[in-house]
Symmetry: C2
Subunit: 456 residues, 2 copies
């Protein structure tokens, strides 16, 4: 509708200024030194919800970082949309690889560069602005509730409790989330599934102190060498994961699903060129799209041990550590997988070392029903604003709370993401295309329009 | 002789005070921030050589850190002993594991705790004090030359050039070094061999940037996982090293040598208890003493990659690095081994990553002839001062310059060390027993006595 386009045009600059302000907060939930920044971000978000016209806005305390809530109930008889997002961001390191400071948003070639630009500040804030737009133009045709949390990047540890104890307040007909990607602006897409996650940390301890590698080398197990052997053994020669029971219950795609999935536009040469790799890698027997969208994986996210400074130190380290996470698919229970990993990792440790396995966090995989009213509304909204029907895709990422909502609130989720895989999520120089930002603000009201219509 | 014991008794306190002063210098050659500390240490050593009575003392500049030289020629016709030592020390980290600050020497239970206490400040300084003692008591019966360098812990890069261009000045009949260990004070021993060293650094690069492990995980090679696989493949199931040609030319011990070596007092249970490991580790078919003394090894000295901070970060890192060193035995050429390693490591890299291999430094292995006059002199000196004949041992460590001396100066080396394996060389809480310190100062003049006698 023209009114939407006009309002966005008239408020373009302010919409951007507010996003810049939001991106300046270093709300890194993983790092305790940023505690006050995270808390300040919550207050900022609450204020912006109020300004946009939300009622009962509250910064709800939890055992960790607060959850910002706000709502607009225009008529209890009408359907209700629960918007979820997160105001916390990933750590910015390695800092030296950022071309511009991660918390000094910089605009270049129509893109805004900053940690959280796309994940998820840029994306959830579209909903705040779309809400303002609907309020100002009497376009809000159903009820809306906002729940913006501050611990998504560290496992949403306290969200479950909050949701369980606020079922009435959070009651809704659908959860709407913009925290995923599209194939491209030319090829809009809609996520129909997400992978689950199990994030572990391991420690391998050899001798009780760092040793001289000359005096003891060759006679005492080196925990780094042992850790490497243990990690290497977690994949076989076909890059299948070797943890017993790991694949139990994993659903293979039907030929049709497989065909549809692989029909999505994908240029392997472009993909390799963009990453500057000569060859892709992965589980034998699956395409790249299948590997990221439909197959479970195991990646070392970090490893450290021994001397990592300048020059050479001939030390046989006392211990070695690694952070290892697994992406899970429908049929896998993340808690069961965490236990299988722990049991297996302990079982393959030689007697010459001691092993400690710690669970960080996890979440269940999710598949969206494409026949639901909400999915159809999102489909039509994108079709109208992009002038092109969206391609259904399976996202590789994980939004653990999607499964939580289904369990606790008995409500389905629609993943209407406007990011791009090339937005460097979790990487240096994270960015968000301003075109996508404004396009999102334009598309969201259309979702409400169709959601109200289809619910009639 | 009584005169020796008396002089030590009279000067005990000063000998200790001077050592403490020396240990206070953080002369970490591996870390550029300590450049001035290393240079100041050289000046200190030069001054102490002068005070002890050395002539022609000079802090000789090199492309790196200077070499301190000093001499006392009492009669050109008499044999000459060249004393080698190093005033630089290993990095002190991990600092948090030190019970007392590494550069604030602390005495506890008759031991002095500080970085460099044993390796090598405490040990080379015994020679400075023994020299003073001989000068004051007219016990110096042959000529003496000192060469104390500042780059031993980083590969003695500039020593070779110095030695080659100072052959006349350094001319000697034997090189005497105290930079190794004894079995125990109850079981004095003499090193008859040392392992060589090849120290490498590797980098494995996958995608050109850190990636979101959800979006790309399972489809792009993770350099940490790949590095672990590559490192794991460097040992086979019997812990033999798999680098083609690695063992070429390695000399197996004769049954007799093997018997003599294993006859040295060694308590495996004590050894395991001291390190708090349930089982030892190593190459199949060899005893612990053989593994450390006579077999080549490969150890990861450090590894790093991805997110190593607090909490969890779901990143697929762009690269991973490791420092890997190999201990070499007679028959192995360290430069050839470095090349074999490089070639092999590059050859096992999958096409999905790029690999960079860098040589840090290295040195040749060495075996001391036990029938030489110098070895016999050391043997008798220890026998007299300890009242017990020393056990011949094969040290696991490396003193690359020993081979250099043989090559450039055509002179053999005697390794008369007074440290203990439990002195935490290269580890936190490095220490040196004051009993050993004084015992060394007492033993060294006896070496000169017998060396002069046996040369008659």
């Amino acid at each position: 509708m023209q009114s939407i386009k006009n309002y966005i045009e008239e408020n373009k600059t302010r919409f951007l200024d507010e996003l810049i302000e939001l991106l300046k907060y270093p709300s890194v939930s993983a790092d305790p030194v940023h505690e006050n920044d995270v808390l300040a971000t919550a207050e900022f978000v609450a204020q912006k919800l109020k300004d946009a016209g939300a009622d009962k806005v509250e910064v709800c305390p939890t055992a960790g970082y607060p959850i910002v809530y706000g709502e607009k109930i225009i008529d209890p008889a009408l359907p209700t949309v629960l918007v979820y997002g997160h105001y916390d961001v990933q750590p910015a390191d390695p800092l030296e690889l950022w071309k511009t400071p991660p918390f000094e948003p910089t605009i270049k070639d129509g893109k805004i560069y900053a940690r959280g630009a796309c994940d998820d500040k840029g994306q959830f804030y579209m909903h705040v602005k779309a809400f303002e737009l609907m309020m100002q133009n009497n376009l809000l045709l159903c009820n809306i509730k906002f729940m913006i949390e501050g611990e998504e990047e560290v496992g949403s540890d306290n969200l479950g409790k909050f949701v369980a104890s606020n079922k009435e307040r959070l009651k809704a007909d659908v959860v709407l989330i913009s925290d995923t990607s599209m194939i491209s602006m030319e090829t809009p897409s809609l996520e129909t599934g997400l992978r689950g996650l199990s994030y572990m940390e391991v420690e391998v301890v050899g001798p009780n102190r760092d040793l001289h590698s000359g005096v003891y080398g060759g006679a005492v197990a080196n925990p780094v060498n042992i850790l490497c052997q243990m990690i290497a053994s977690l994949h076989d020669e076909n890059n299948h994961i070797t943890i017993p029971g790991f694949y139990d219950g994993v659903l293979e795609l039907s030929e049709e699903e497989q065909k549809e999935l692989n029909s999505a536009p994908f240029d392997l040469e472009e993909y390799k060129k963009d990453l500057d790799v000569e060859e892709v890698w992965g589980e034998k027997g699956y395409s790249t799209i299948e590997r990221t969208g439909t197959r479970p994986t195991l990646d070392v996210n970090g490893i450290w041990g021994g001397y990592t400074g300048v020059g050479a130190k001939t030390v046989l380290p006392s211990k070695a550590n690694a952070k290892i996470s697994m992406r899970l698919v429908p049929g896998q229970d993340w808690e069961k997988i965490s236990d299988l990993f722990t049991k297996h990792f302990e079982s393959i440790a030689p007697k010459s070392v001691k092993v400690k396995v710690t669970k960080h966090h996890g979440g269940a995989p999710y598949v969206t029903p494409t026949d639901s009213v909400a999915y159809q509304a999102a489909y039509k909204a994108i079709e109208e604003s992009f002038g092109k029907a969206p391609v259904p895709t399976r996202g590789g990422g994980s939004i653990p709370i999607v499964a939580l909502f289904e369990e606790e609130l008995e409500v389905k989720t629609v993943l209407m993401g406007f990011g791009l895989d090339s937005d460097n999520l979790h990487s240096p120089n994270e960015k968000y295309d301003l075109y996508n930002y404004y396009k999102g603000i334009e598309t969201i009201p259309l979702f409400y329009k169709y959601f109200a219509q289809l619910n009639k």
